[in-house]
């Protein structure tokens, strides 16, 4: 049990996917203009990460022991098609949910965070339940980082910033400071 909590917290704040591993940076800088959009994108990411974790576990257990060189190709193809399939099911069953999250799904299907999760999960040999906790933690961490970044950017819109700094350079430095703040969480769990 303790192990599961540790996996969750570590994926969410200590080794945050965006701010520690630099995964999923494209949406992090692209879609973090408004807080509510950022939040919905984060939730859509969480959803896809859960599907990914399940797919990766199935592949790792049943398929890849026989053909390890197919790892990357099979991850990408299976994850992309499963997400597409689930998207169609949601569209059919719950149009409201589809409107809230659906537009983001094609965007994030093969984003670095998704493939990164599958690869990390494989490298660390997580079991099915551990994988699910890892995915939820990573998704929550991405949502947290996106929302924080969107909030900071909205605030920065209103401040007086030199023209040369505005844009990507400023966003990167904001992200750097945010990442530094997240480093503080490393002291949450000590090994002693």
């Amino acid at each position: 049990m303790n192990q599961l909590v540790w996996i969750f917290i570590s994926a969410m704040v200590i080794n945050n996917f965006t701010l520690y591993y630099f995964l999923g940076l494209c949406p992090f800088f692209g879609v973090s203009g408004r807080i509510d959009t950022a939040f919905r994108l984060g939730l859509a990411n969480l959803f896809v990460l859960l599907i990914t974790s399940t797919c990766a576990w199935v592949l790792n257990t049943f398929v890849l022991p026989h053909a390890p060189y197919l790892q990357l190709i099979s991850f990408i193809v299976v994850i992309a098609s499963t997400v597409q399939f689930v998207e169609m099911v949601i569209k059919k069953l719950s149009p409201a949910l589809f409107r809230a999250l659906g537009i983001f799904l094609p965007l994030i299907t093969t984003n670095c965070a998704i493939l990164g999760l599958a690869l990390f999960q494989t490298n660390r040999a997580y079991s099915f339940v551990e994988g699910i906790f890892f995915a939820v933690g990573a998704g929550a961490g991405l949502t947290l980082a996106l929302v924080l970044m969107a909030g900071l950017r909205v605030e920065a819109e209103l401040s007086d910033i030199p023209a040369a700094v505005k844009g990507t350079a400023m966003n990167l430095i904001i992200a750097g400071i945010l990442s530094m703040a997240f480093m503080g969480f490393a002291g949450l769990f000590s090994s002693t």
């Binding site: 700094v165 430095i173 750097g176």
Partner: protein, 213 residues
């Protein structure tokens, strides 16, 4: 023939500076920030990306008339994934220490937007020679940017260059620069420098025009 080679050179040169994938287009950030904490890692990552981009551009531009339009993106991804697997296994066999340090980030070259972007925007519409020149230029620009970032972070954050100490024992390294936040901050500073240079250049002609008037 002379026109062809000069056009190929132009395709090569644009990736190096004017349309540099990192400094101008800000593409492919995930692998870039994660592995550039030393010059040698940056070079390895740049080299692997170059191999993948050249290989997939070659194959895609050879097959550009065969691939059906509807499934082109999936085809590109499968081709790219094949070359990344090759690069991953080669590095694992010949440089296991480096491979361990770069970890999952070699595999993550698959989702580097730079590579897919070049296939969609260039290799699928141009002849093999042009596609190769474009891939060479873009990956050289990427390698150059990674090398700048990696060297800057290693020199400031570790006081060394390719592992050789530079400043003697009294230098207190800025450890933050080799940690993840340093990646964001250093790239931000480099982009800031580029922005300032661009602004200064844009200002100069207008000033001379004013003097003339």
């Amino acid at each position: 023939m002379a026109k062809d080679s000069s056009q190929a050179y132009a395709e090569f040169a644009k990736g190096l500076w004017k349309e540099n994938p990192v400094f101008v287009q800000v593409l492919g950030m995930c692998p870039m920030l994660a592995v550039t904490n030393s010059a040698i890692n940056a070079l390895a990552m740049g080299g692997a990306t170059m191999f993948v981009l050249l290989g997939s551009s070659l194959l895609i531009s050879l097959l550009r008339n065969v691939i059906p339009k509807q499934v082109r993106i999936s085809t590109y991804i499968i081709v790219i994934a094949t070359f990344v697997t090759l690069a991953d296994f080669t590095l694992k066999a010949f440089a296991p220490a480096l491979h361990k340090e770069l970890g999952a980030f070699i595999s993550l070259i698959v989702v580097n937007c730079l590579i897919l972007g070049r296939q969609e925007a260039f290799a699928s519409r141009n002849t093999v020679g042009m596609a190769l020149a474009d891939a060479m230029g873009m990956s050289a620009g990427f390698l150059f940017a990674l090398f700048c970032l990696g060297s800057a972070r290693e020199i400031v954050g570790n006081g060394s260059f390719f592992g050789f100490p530079l400043f003697g024992p009294n230098y207190e390294p800025w450890v933050i620069m080799v940690l993840p936040p340093g990646g964001f901050i250093m790239l931000g500073l480099i982009l800031l420098l580029f922005g300032a240079i661009k602004q200064a250049r844009a200002k100069r002609p207008s000033e001379t025009a004013r003097k003339a008037a």
